[in-house]
């Protein structure tokens, strides 16, 4: 290599942060002869808070040196990289984009198995995947392992489903393999419904061949000749990249008839979801694949016995499959060596909310929540106080500050009332109202309930009404008890996981933050100052100098008044954004 190589992160969120503009700026500079470099793309590296990010590889004294530049701008990228090309690394204009040591170490402190290639290789190029040892595991499997041997390696690894429930993967594979019949299906659940999680998106966008390889190994193990990926409709880029990868794999003989010269054949296709959270539940997903309304089926029969069009089927999550090729290559023991007694390997989390360094994180099981939030995540924004972390989305719960040292392990997390979940970790600070959080999730589940069971359909609606009443300051004595009663009956009366777990966000907030419920009901106060019906913004006419600044800043024109005269806020219009308070130089605006 003599030419400089520039690799730009182009995951969905990188693009949203402006990575495509940076790419275009450099591409134009190269075409105009102002820059001499090979330009390529990669997926999500996980440091989403630093996007747009570029890795630069240069040759110095015979060795390849990698430098990372972050928070780039389309407007000056061409100039910055021209300086880099000249070797002017110490130039202030370049230096200011260089990644800090702290951020660099953040990445190094992670253990990457499922994300091993994300952010390192070009997801649109199969050769880049092959160069990392890609499809070696598939070759090993189809050319010399029996179905049972494959299942055994997975059993030794201790791999458990990463879609939420944490069920042992080998057990499901074995059940599907043992089911009678020739026509079997392998299905990948890429519905990623938890709003606030994007692990699966990152894997598909950043390393689609890892998913394909893992799925093919699974298909071999259970004896399936057809594999289907059910992808969320909201992930257009993931669908494009996966389609492209399937096409490449077909062309190279990794997919299709007689894969790599063996007598194993398997086809793969994509089905786009159509926006229904319940379709992440495996039997509802099957209904949806069959072109029906996505309503869960009664289990048993389990999909392993009777799934897609009544044929034996196995469903796994994207991240589950993303671990498989690594396990075959490195052995089940190597995977099992990471983690705790009950939870093996690593887990990917999408760290978001009021966190300094939001992004994707992969760490060994057995790390603590503190390691993730205060270590890799860099703590809470604006130095505020950490209040709770929400795990498991609508099926999960909030874990409070005094349990920050909880170990990441399926059993230990369940003991808190939350769950491991699929990997969403939404961090909340002192300004987040926990009653509102519960209301938010119930609003979600009430909308997403498929309507099959009365307890779920009506129960979530009733719970939502009570919670809405409470956050609006109209809560009544007895509401908390009524909520608790509904929680129990919904859990008992629901058919599928959606209904059975819908009360969890309420139960955990009641367990750890009951005082916040009580403050809303009995004192008509929101301790976090978030519930908008319980706060009003007013301008103190004595202090207001009529500078008009607030009126100009208000996004909804709720403030009126003429120059040098006291202004007033129309409380009907005010959306309580706080912008006026933050801008008033005279301290004339108050909230209570």
């Amino acid at each position: 290599m003599s030419k400089m190589k520039i690799v730009i992160g182009q995951g969905s969120c990188g693009i949203a942060a402006g990575a495509a503009k940076v790419y275009d700026a450099l591409d134009n500079a190269i075409k105009a002869g102002k820059l001499d470099a090979d330009l390529s793309i990669t997926g999500c590296i996980g440091m989403c808070y630093l996007e747009p990010i570029a890795d630069v590889f240069t040759e110095e004294k015979g060795a390849v040196v990698k430098r990372t530049y972050v928070q780039l701008n389309g407007s000056d990228a061409a100039d910055v990289f021209a300086l880099i090309q000249k070797g002017d690394f110490e130039n202030e204009a370049v230096k200011k984009y260089e990644i800090s040591e702290e951020d660099e170490n953040n990445l190094k402190s992670q253990t990457r198995v499922a994300l091993r290639n994300c952010g390192n290789i070009d997801p649109e190029n199969i050769d880049a995947y092959i160069a990392t040892g890609g499809y070696e595991a598939l070759k090993k499997v189809v050319s010399g392992m029996t179905q049972d041997e494959v299942i055994d390696v997975i059993k030794v690894s201790g791999l458990a489903g990463r879609g939420g429930a944490g069920f042992p993967t080998w057990f499901k594979w074995n059940a599907a393999k043992s089911s009678p019949g020739d026509e079997k299906y392998l299905i990948c659940n890429a519905d990623e419904g938890d709003p606030g999680a994007f692990m699966d998106r990152a894997v598909i966008e950043g390393d689609p061949h890892t998913l394909i390889e893992g799925m093919l190994i699974g298909a071999y193990a259970i004896g399936a000749k057809e594999a289907i990926v059910y992808v969320r409709a909201e992930y257009p880029l993931a669908i494009i990249r996966l389609k492209n990868a399937i096409k490449q794999a077909n062309e190279r003989g990794y997919l299709g008839d007689n894969i790599m010269g063996s007598n194993f054949s398997c086809k793969m296709r994509i089905k786009a979801g159509a926006g229904a959270f319940v379709c992440g539940e495996e039997t509802a997903l099957i209904e949806s694949l069959e072109g029906q309304r996505g309503m869960p089926r009664l289990k048993p029969p389990f999909p392993a016995a009777s799934g897609y069009f009544q044929k034996p089927s196995n469903i796994n999550n994207v991240e589950t499959f993303a671990n498989v090729a690594w396990i075959i290559n490195n052995g089940g023991e190597a995977f099992a060596a990471m983690g705790t007694q009950d939870s093996k390997g690593t887990k990917v989390f999408a760290l978001t909310g009021k966190i300094n360094k939001g992004g994707l994180v992969e760490i060994p099981m057995g790390s603590t929540l503190r390691d993730v939030i205060y270590g890799i995540g860099g703590g809470i924004r604006e130095n505020k106080k950490f209040k709770a972390v929400q795990m498991g989305g609508p099926s999960g719960g909030c874990i409070p500050a005094d349990l920050l040292d909880t170990v990441i392990d399926y059993k230990k997390l369940s003991a808190t009332g939350a769950i491991m979940g699929s990997g969403g970790m939404v961090v909340m600070d002192e300004s987040t109202c926990m009653v509102d959080m519960a209301r938010f999730f119930l609003d979600f589940t009430a909308k997403e309930s498929c309507g099959k069971c009365a307890h779920c359909r009506l129960g979530t609606k009733r719970m939502l009404e009570i919670l809405e009443r409470i956050v609006n300051g109209e809560g009544k004595d007895g509401d908390i008890e009524l909520l608790e009663e509904l929680c129990v009956s919904i859990k008992d009366g629901a058919l599928c996981g959606l209904g059975q777990t819908a009360p969890n966000p309420v139960l955990t907030t009641l367990k750890y933050f009951r005082h916040e419920y009580e403050a809303h009901i009995y004192e008509h106060k929101c301790p976090a100052g978030q519930c908008r019906s319980l706060v009003t913004y007013t301008i103190d006419a004595d202090k207001c100098k009529g500078c008009t600044l607030c009126a100009r800043q208000c996004p909804v024109q709720a403030i009126s008044g003429s120059v040098k005269n006291p202004h007033v806020i129309d409380t009907e219009k005010c959306i309580k954004c706080g912008k006026c308070i933050a801008n008033c130089k005279f301290g004339a605006i108050s909230v209570n």
Partner: protein
């Protein structure tokens, strides 16, 4: 096919569906894929299109409609030129997405699911666009906008309005 007043009003060019039927009509379980492609073509699912799909697939009209209404992706009304998909997922909620919704609703005078009278903007709340680390996030047509504040969101909308007024160079 004038089964009701509604049908009389919508006269879609049904011949556009032919390639879709050719590809998918005989495939088992392809109803959702057909509906998705039809929506691509027409921008929404007009009643006559739904009826045509029922005729050609042999699936009962009630079932076609029942399936389509189950999924939030499908629309039964035309959408504006600019479809604002505003994320109301957990991460965006925690970072103030509801204030962004209030601000753009008040700017456009419409709520979630509605379209402005001039047919320019529609607002649709969605759950998670997968860019949570940039929350709050909205997507207008193909473009994603992150780390929104009410002010920033309103400004983006005003910019689009202005470019439309000046001859409508898209975004």
């Amino acid at each position: 096919m004038d089964c009701c007043p509604e049908c009389k009003n919508n006269k879609s060019d049904l011949s556009l569906l032919e390639p879709v039927f050719k590809e998918l009509a005989d495939e088992k379980g392809s109803l959702i894929a057909i509906l998705q492609q039809a929506q691509e073509i027409y921008g929404y699912l007009p009643t006559d299109v739904l009826r045509c799909i029922a005729d050609r697939t042999g699936i009962k009209p009630a079932k076609v409609y029942g399936t389509a209404t189950f999924y939030t992706q499908f629309r039964f009304k035309p959408v504006g030129k600019y479809l604002i998909m505003l994320c109301q997922g957990t991460a965006c909620h925690v970072n103030g997405a509801d204030m962004v919704l209030d601000a753009i609703s008040s700017e456009l005078g419409i709520g979630d699911g509605d379209t402005t009278e001039d047919g320019l903007f529609s607002i649709k709340c969605v759950a998670c666009l997968g860019c949570c680390s940039l929350s709050p996030v909205m997507m207008i047509n193909e473009e994603t906008y992150g780390t929104l504040t009410p002010t920033k969101a309103v400004q983006i909308i005003r910019d689009i309005k202005e470019s439309e007024a000046n001859g409508g160079a898209a975004q």
